[in-house]
């Protein structure tokens, strides 16, 4: 048995959880139907009325929401409250069509931070801990989410944000950080940097790390745990539902407990939309049971995973999800940033290049690498090296603005990127992301 941030709810009986969900879904569907015209129209089209939703099982009757709906409704179309009731936005990177802008009331923020606090306590966190948050701060949910959770637990919070590894290490050593929160690849990178500086894993005071925002393997977990001398915990979330803390690992490290009192999870067949039983691999769908400002119902995450309700040795009763086993769309997660090939294509077209490109994703020294081969058009060619390098730099800048991360651009001769008869191969991802 472990420690809990909110023991009553985290270890509630199945019956109690279902009771909470039954109560919340009825209220939430009513809230959405009354306040979100976009979803009301979807329900009307399907012939579903709020009165049809009497228990959580009736959720099957509701229409799905997808990223395309978020695009259509951008920016305010899915807002569930007046703007004056909202206190924050968070956002993903990307072009207008791909960018998610999520709104929060103060209550939404509080509940989100509580979810993160549960994750920190599950990793052994107490108010005696020093919690170093090196997820990015700002629009990205990672930093603000764990920062808020750390406050709720009462940890001494180090709001480091990402990058500047020398400074991260200096603070870690000088202030004796005991918990670290960041992407797993950045954790591995910090581990290597510590070693390069001559530190042994026992030289730091870290005991646990909470790592998410990108896929990682058990092999990587082992490597991080050894290099930092910690236990490494996975955390999951997405901006659409709030951010990190939708689910989190306990000491058993065999999947992430979904905070079921706030988020109802379903696994569906991505082709048919049919709900699949526990234990089957399918697309994860989330319903926010009590979010006010951005109350998404049946949102298709595109993450493929498995749910299990087997009792957990940690004492938590909430359903567990596996690490995502892949995506049912073409989204790439690179250094924690969501990237769609179509975004790269949009930038190329905007910048006057042909939409012939090859995205190469790899991992060097535990950091994701992103390279894009782009065909040079005859009229863009110059006999001067500096002209071509300036073109590459300009394109890298435009990509960075759109994607939130900068790829390395390689201009290549026209027609040198293989054309295929059917679906073009646009991405070569050589990382090992899933077990």
């Amino acid at each position: 048995m472990g420690n809990y941030f909110q023991p009553e709810i985290e270890t509630a009986s199945r019956e109690k959880i279902i009771e909470i969900q039954n109560e919340k879904i009825v209220k939430q569907v009513k809230h959405v139907y009354e306040n979100v015209a976009y979803y009301r129209n979807l329900m009307d089209e399907k012939g579903v009325k709020p009165e049809d939703i009497k228990t959580i099982d009736d959720i099957k009757k509701l229409p799905f929401l997808s990223k395309a709906d978020l695009r259509d409704a951008y920016p305010y179309g899915l807002l569930g409250t007046d703007l004056k009731d909202c206190v924050r936005i968070q956002s993903t990177s990307g072009t207008t069509g791909r960018r998610v802008v999520a709104f929060y009331t103060q209550k939404d923020i509080d509940l989100w931070e509580e979810c993160c606090a549960r994750a920190i306590v599950a990793a052994g966190g107490t108010n005696e801990d020093v919690c170093q948050v090196c997820y990015g701060y700002g629009l990205f949910t990672g930093g603000p989410g764990l920062n808020g959770g750390s406050h709720k637990v009462g940890c001494l919070t180090l709001p480091m944000s990402s990058g500047n590894t020398d400074r991260q290490i200096q603070f870690m050593m000088d202030l004796g950080s005991t918990i670290i929160c960041c992407t797993p690849s950045y954790a591995a990178f910090i581990g290597e940097s510590l070693k390069e500086k001559g530190y042994k894993p026992s030289d730091n005071k870290l005991k646990a790390g909470i790592f998410g925002a990108e896929p990682w393997t058990e092999e990587m977990r082992k490597q991080i745990e050894e290099s930092l001398g910690i236990k490494a915990y996975d955390i999951y979330g997405l901006t659409e539902t709030s951010g990190p803390g939708v689910s989190f690992e306990c000491e058993e490290q065999t999947g992430m407990h979904i905070n079921e009192d706030h988020f109802y999870a379903e696994i569906i067949d991505p082709e048919t939309g049919e709900v699949l039983p526990d234990g089957e691999v399918g697309e994860l769908v989330f319903t926010s049971l009590d979010k006010e400002a951005f109350p998404l119902l049946r949102y298709r995450t595109r993450d493929l995973c498995v749910l299990t309700r087997k009792p957990c040795s940690c004492g938590r009763t909430h359903v567990k999800m596996s690490k995502p086993k892949g995506r049912s769309d073409d989204m790439l997660i690179i250094r924690g940033v969501n990237v769609f090939p179509s975004q790269i294509e949009t930038v190329l077209l905007n910048e006057g290049y042909a939409p012939n490109y090859l995205i190469k994703v790899g991992r060097e020294n535990n950091t994701d690498t992103l390279d894009v081969d782009v065909e040079l058009l005859p009229e863009q060619f110059s006999d001067k090296v500096s002209d071509i390098q300036a073109k590459e730099k300009a394109l890298e800048g435009a990509m960075r603005t759109m994607l939130g991360i900068g790829p390395k651009i390689h201009l290549v001769p026209p027609k040198s990127i293989a054309r295929s008869e059917g679906k073009a191969v646009r991405v070569i991802d050589t990382r090992k992301l899933h077990d």
């Binding site: 005859p378 863009q380 060619f381 006999d383 001067k384 090296v385 071509i388 201009l411 001769p413 026209p414």
Partner: protein, 138 residues
């Protein structure tokens, strides 16, 4: 008198240079001068050839090429020969983008310049008595 230089975009990968040179060789085109500017990713092969139109057509099938005006200045085999040329260009405020040299059995050594202002460079050099190559010379 400016001469035409062919610039060829080549990926910095094994075999790419020889692919390009093979095309020229098999077409029986004579390569008079050559230089390469390279980066990690790509190189620009700069050529002065006997049949620029034919070379351009053939190389365009595989990559991008363009034709640039450059000047080729005849150089004496004497100390300070290059410096004397550079001094003239500098005094005339002419910016040099890049340069390379070549020699021929028939007429000796030439230094090739890609400059910002071809006409001004030609004038400055001929005024000082330097001899510029024409297409015919090489």
């Amino acid at each position: 008198m400016a001469i035409k230089q062919l610039s060829v975009f080549i990926e910095n990968k094994q075999g790419k240079l020889s692919d390009a040179v093979k095309v020229i060789s098999e077409a029986g085109i004579d390569m008079r001068a050559m230089s390469i500017a390279d980066t990690n990713d790509f190189g620009i092969l700069r050529l002065i050839v006997s049949d620029i139109d034919k070379a351009k057509t053939l190389l365009s099938e595989d990559t991008v090429v363009n034709v640039t005006d450059v000047i080729a200045v005849k150089m004496n085999d004497k100390e300070g020969a290059l410096y004397n040329i550079l001094k003239v260009l500098e005094e005339a405020n002419i910016n040099i983008e890049y340069t390379y040299a070549f020699t021929t059995h028939e007429v000796g050594a030439y230094v090739v310049f890609r400059v910002g202002d071809v006409a001004a460079a030609e004038k400055a050099l001929t005024d000082k008595g330097f001899e510029l190559a024409t297409e015919k010379d090489i």
